[in-house]
């Protein structure tokens, strides 16, 4: 599965411009699903199986997009000014590299800094694509780019890459689709767009799918780094079952159901209470008349930086957990 992860994380798909990633996913899942559709906002929706007695229509969602940049102006000397797509933080940018949709690579620089103790804002930064003039610059206002960073295995189980958020969820979902042989549920796998800009893809997909249960697969913050955020989650201690985040309180019945499934499988899980951020599950939960929703999270360090780090065993166990969950009736008690 590491090869699949590498392929997905190294692809470029900033919010709103996810087509390259979508094409990769489509090729991977086509033989394993009944029907594939791409909706108005670019989300890939794949149907697998039909509802048997005791089954439900379940929407599972992982987002295709990653945070990125978009060009706002090319100056007379060919420097590209930009603004973030999604929650990019300025301190992760300087010295970084980006790749635009047309393949142009660039380096992020900044104006002369008066005070090195203060992180410059995006308005002080620019991207140097090697051009000498506006006319010479291959980037135009409105061109989107993503951060440029290779996948690397730091050790046997610790993997680092940009866009783990949420290509790891995409990889898990693809693997689940391949491994699931039979299910009493009508499974609708959504590879959503524009999650990083307020869950827009999942919002419209959830309306269209009209599910009875919703589950998102995404990364969550890990609390196991030096003087880091206070949080129960740690790498290698299993998938995190979301109890709540800033945008959603998971359906407690679904949380119990997920924990019971993990216990049956004998895999470790952790409970996630996240103070900031949310996932596609929020959009599913609040669509139409409301849907019981939850989320399987993969703990991840340095989220929204060009090097996000997670544990491979958590990934493998997330696949196992989801195959177990989706392969059986989801009877909420």
């Amino acid at each position: 599965m590491k090869a699949l992860i590498k392929k997905f994380v190294e692809a470029a798909g900033p919010s709103g411009f996810e087509n390259a990633v979508r094409d990769l996913v489509k090729a991977e899942i086509a033989p394993y699903v009944d029907r594939i559709e791409v909706d108005a906002l670019g989300s890939l929706i794949a149907w697998k199986g039909s509802r048997q007695p005791g089954g439900k229509r379940v929407m599972i969602s992982a987002h295709l997009d990653e945070i990125g940049v978009i060009a706002t102006h090319v100056d007379q000397n060919g420097f590209v000014r930009f603004t973030p797509l999604g929650a990019v933080r300025p301190h992760t940018c300087l010295g970084g590299r980006v790749i635009f949709q047309n393949g142009t690579r660039g380096v992020i620089g900044s104006e002369r800094l008066e005070d090195l103790a203060r992180t410059p804002g995006f308005e002080q930064m620019f991207i140097d694509v090697g051009a000498a003039s506006r006319e010479d610059c291959p980037v135009r206002t409105g061109d989107a780019g993503s951060f440029d960073r290779d996948f690397v295995a730091l050790s046997e189980n610790r993997l680092a890459a940009k866009a783990m958020d949420d290509r790891i969820g995409v990889a898990v979902q693809v693997e689940v689709i391949r491994q699931l042989k039979a299910s009493p549920n009508e499974l609708v796998f959504v590879f959503s767009t524009q999650e990083e800009v307020m869950l827009r893809g999942a919002t419209t997909a959830a309306y269209a799918v009209d599910p009875e249960i919703g589950i998102s697969i995404d990364v969550t913050v890990s609390g196991d780094t030096p003087r880091g955020i206070k949080m129960e989650t740690a790498l290698g201690k299993g998938p995190a079952i979301k109890v709540r985040d800033a945008g959603m309180i998971s359906d407690p019945r679904l949380v119990r159901h997920m924990c019971a499934a993990a216990e049956r499988l004998g895999i470790p899980v952790q409970l996630e209470i996240l103070e900031g951020g949310t996932t596609d599950a929020r959009a599913i939960q609040t669509t139409r008349a409301g849907v019981p929703a939850g989320c399987v999270s993969i703990p991840c360090r340095y989220i929204h930086s060009p090097s996000e780090v997670l544990d491979y065993q958590d990934v493998i166990n997330s696949v196992k957990l989801l195959v177990e969950l989706l392969g059986h009736p989801i009877d909420l008690q």
Binding site: S15, G16, A40, A71, D75, Q76, L85, R200, T203
Partner: protein, 362 residues
């Protein structure tokens, strides 16, 4: 403007008739949630031009023109009728009203401005302490809303009540190549849609929404988009140009748009990542017809597209704005040519639009 002979049809132009319409619309008062005056003008103008008119529960005007042929493409066009302004909160003293702002208004612009209050358009002024009486350091500070009043004079005692709206009193005028008005955002869009309805393309089902409450959170567009359930949406608005020279002579890199450079096609704003297929289509149409255009700089802000593109299963959407300086103040300035080119772009785009624009996946 009609120097073109490469197209099969004449592009519309802005003449005295269109200016008169815009003047009427800009001078009408339609603060968010109280758009009746503007709606009345719209209803009068479009009567007889469309197959069906609905005024929905929020006050949106939804005008439908059925397309010819089997299964015509349903294209929603939207422009908001409301404008930013004020709502009276309490009569402190005879004719003296405490007020709240409606929509995004910079309080620093308010002192000394003429306003018109209530349905009767009673003239008033937003007062402030004259400079003669100010303390030394008072001059540099913004005056808080709690210290501002709308003053219509003691003769106005009891004539207004809490909840009544007030608007800037700026009268529309044409000055050389420019037009000045208080509510060009977004009466320019409203007027453009009315002009489109006068010469509508026959192959499309047009679902034209004159929306309410855009300035307070795209509320009208949300329900209009749901009701109309379009295949594609094109939103017309007016966006700021902050294209003034930079003080040290450096290149201005944050201008949003530039006046005189044609309609601004949106890429990414705070509420929408516009559909790349529609952006490309509009750019191609503009180039084919020799209509100047610009891309609005990606950034914050938003239009009715923010609500419309997320309705139901999603709607491919794009926004086009007439650029203008000093939006959301008492007076916006726009170049007449930019309006002309916006009308031409929308007109040419609608005449060239069919399902093939959505043939490729987004």
């Amino acid at each position: 403007m009609s120097t073109h002979n490469t197209h099969a049809f004449e592009l519309p132009v802005i003449g005295a008739e269109q200016i008169a319409l815009l003047e009427k619309l800009s001078n009408a008062v339609g603060i968010s949630g109280d758009e009746g005056e503007v709606r009345k003008i719209v209803l009068d103008e479009i009567k007889g031009l469309v197959d069906q008119i609905i005024v929905d529960s929020l006050g949106n005007v939804l005008a439908i023109c059925n397309g010819e042929g089997p299964d015509p493409l349903r294209v929603m066009l939207a422009a908001h009728m409301d404008e930013v302004g004020f709502m009276l909160v309490e009569e402190d003293a005879p004719g003296l009203y405490a007020f709240a702002v409606v929509g995004g208004v910079d309080l620093r612009h308010l002192p000394g401005k003429m306003v018109q209050a209530g349905k009767q358009h009673l003239p008033g002024v937003i007062g402030a302490k004259p400079i003669h009486l100010q303390e030394k350091d008072e001059n540099g500070r913004a005056i808080p809303l709690t210290s501002l009043r709308i003053d219509i004079g003691p003769g106005g005692k009891g004539k207004l009540k809490p909840g009544d709206r007030a608007a800037f009193a700026t009268a529309f005028q044409q000055v050389g190549p420019s037009i000045i008005g208080k509510a060009l955002d977004d009466r320019l869009g409203v007027a453009t849609l009315i002009e489109i309805l006068k010469r509508r393309p026959r192959q499309l089902t047009l679902q034209v929404a004159f929306t309410v409450q855009e300035e307070v959170g795209l509320r009208g567009a949300r329900v209009a988009g749901y009701a109309l359930n379009p295949d594609i949406a094109i939103i017309l608005d007016s966006t700021p140009s902050y294209d003034l020279p930079v003080w040290d002579g450096e290149e201005n890199i944050r201008y949003n748009t530039r006046i005189g450079c044609g309609p601004a096609i949106y890429t990414v704003d705070g509420a929408t990542i516009n559909d790349p297929r529609l952006i490309k289509f509009l750019a191609q149409i503009a180039e084919r017809h020799g209509i100047p255009f610009q891309f609005r700089q990606p950034g914050g802000g938003g239009t009715d597209a923010g609500a419309i593109h997320k309705t139901r299963g999603g709607v491919p959407s794009v926004s086009i704005s007439v650029p203008g300086r000093y939006q959301h103040t008492a007076a916006q300035i726009t170049r007449t040519d930019d309006w002309t080119h916006t009308l031409q772009l929308v007109y040419a785009a609608l005449h060239g639009l069919d399902r093939s624009v959505l043939a490729a996946e987004r």
